[in-house]
Symmetry: C2
Subunit: 227 residues, 2 copies
């Protein structure tokens, strides 16, 4: 097993059979001890956060699998906080595809002149580049196309898959009276060049609210997975 | 004549006949005495800059008129540095529509991971909100539509008009062996709701280069308008 990359919240290893292993860490993105799914650095460490994020990821990836939505997920070991995944090739150096149901975070920082904090948005999808140095800049369909990062078809597929997946997560949360405000997904090409969801789906890449109050990642896992 | 608004580089007056008067000032956007067409504040003042910008604006607006492209231009008084224009209603609180032929400025600041400084771009159009407080954020077609700022049709028309107008300017500059790197346009609705080019076209809202060297706004006017 060979270490390929150390990420902010996960490390990536290559397995001998050609698959990969993601090791979930107890680090969360944020600033000065406050969690922020949109942040570009580790802001806090909570014991058990890695296993908790993996539990939710496993739960959601299995639901998506049953719905026939392609993902890189193979299996997971909660005790070890590891997930086995298929090899995937990202677009460019990696994109983040965001789906927004309410106006919060960077949406309000950009468009506060036209939107109120918390205002409903209709599954609005936008793409940012994974580029810490440049603060994950927003990018348009035209620029993605021009810079050779996505074809027009790939853009359309990513947008459709994002809405489909986000709606599944939104409905799952709604069963526990939790409201999904926004979610950040990553995609890559697996197997025969198929576009699939990669990375994770946990409290670490979404904003979920209950009774108008933001739910921290570990609390979200407990609320979703409790009987 | 009634003062309606004081802008960074122009003041706006309402005339008794319902038209408007733009008074070009000697202020240029930039920072610490260095001109930057993408800047959001006045960075320097040069005597004659207002008249110079107006001369170029008059020159380009008359060329566009002859090509049947709608603008708000009526006439101008170079001596007084004033331009009479039709009343126009902007989209939202105002948009800037940028057409890029080479990767410089904010394009490189955002997409430097995928583009080299000065790399050719194929008349790439992007829209930013006029919002000094939020540093004129980039906005996608989907967000413009969702926030009620532009319809899908208006977006398409703005993009087409922008490429058409920018290509005219690019060709005019090329006659003097000057290369247009990028240009920032503003649009509004005039007369019978027709979408028209408004504001100005001068060195103040474009980046032009000669022999690989950037040309300052006043120098650009001299190079274009000299015989």
């Amino acid at each position: 097993m060979k270490l390929i990359a150390k990420g902010k919240t996960k490390d990536l290893y290559e397995l001998e059979d050609g698959n990969y292993l993601l090791k979930f860490k107890d680090d969360l993105t944020g600033e000065d001890g406050v969690f922020d799914p949109g942040a570009n650095k580790v802001g806090l460490t909570i014991e058990g956060a890695g296993r908790s994020g993996l539990k939710l990821t496993k739960y959601f990836f299995e639901i998506l699998k049953n719905k026939g939505i392609p993902t890189h997920y193979i299996d997971s070991n909660i005790e070890e906080a590891t997930m086995t995944v298929k090899p995937a090739k990202v677009f460019g150096n990696g994109l983040e595809v965001i789906c927004r149901y309410r106006a919060v975070g960077s949406f309000i920082r950009r468009y506060g002149m036209y939107a109120k904090e918390g205002q409903p948005l209709d599954a609005y999808v936008e793409i940012t580049l994974k580029d810490d140095e440049r603060n994950d800049p927003l990018i348009t369909e035209d620029a993605l196309h021009m810079l050779g990062i996505l074809t027009r078809d790939e853009y359309r597929i990513l947008k459709e898959l994002t809405i489909k997946i986000s709606n599944v997560i939104k409905e799952e949360l709604a069963k526990k009276a939790i409201e999904l405000y926004d979610i950040k997904l990553e995609f890559g090409r697996i197997d025969n060049n198929q576009i699939a969801l990669i990375d994770e789906i946990s409290g670490g890449n979404m904003r979920a609210y209950k009774d108008g109050k933001y739910i921290e990642p570990l609390e979200l896992e407990k609320l979703i997975l409790e009987d």
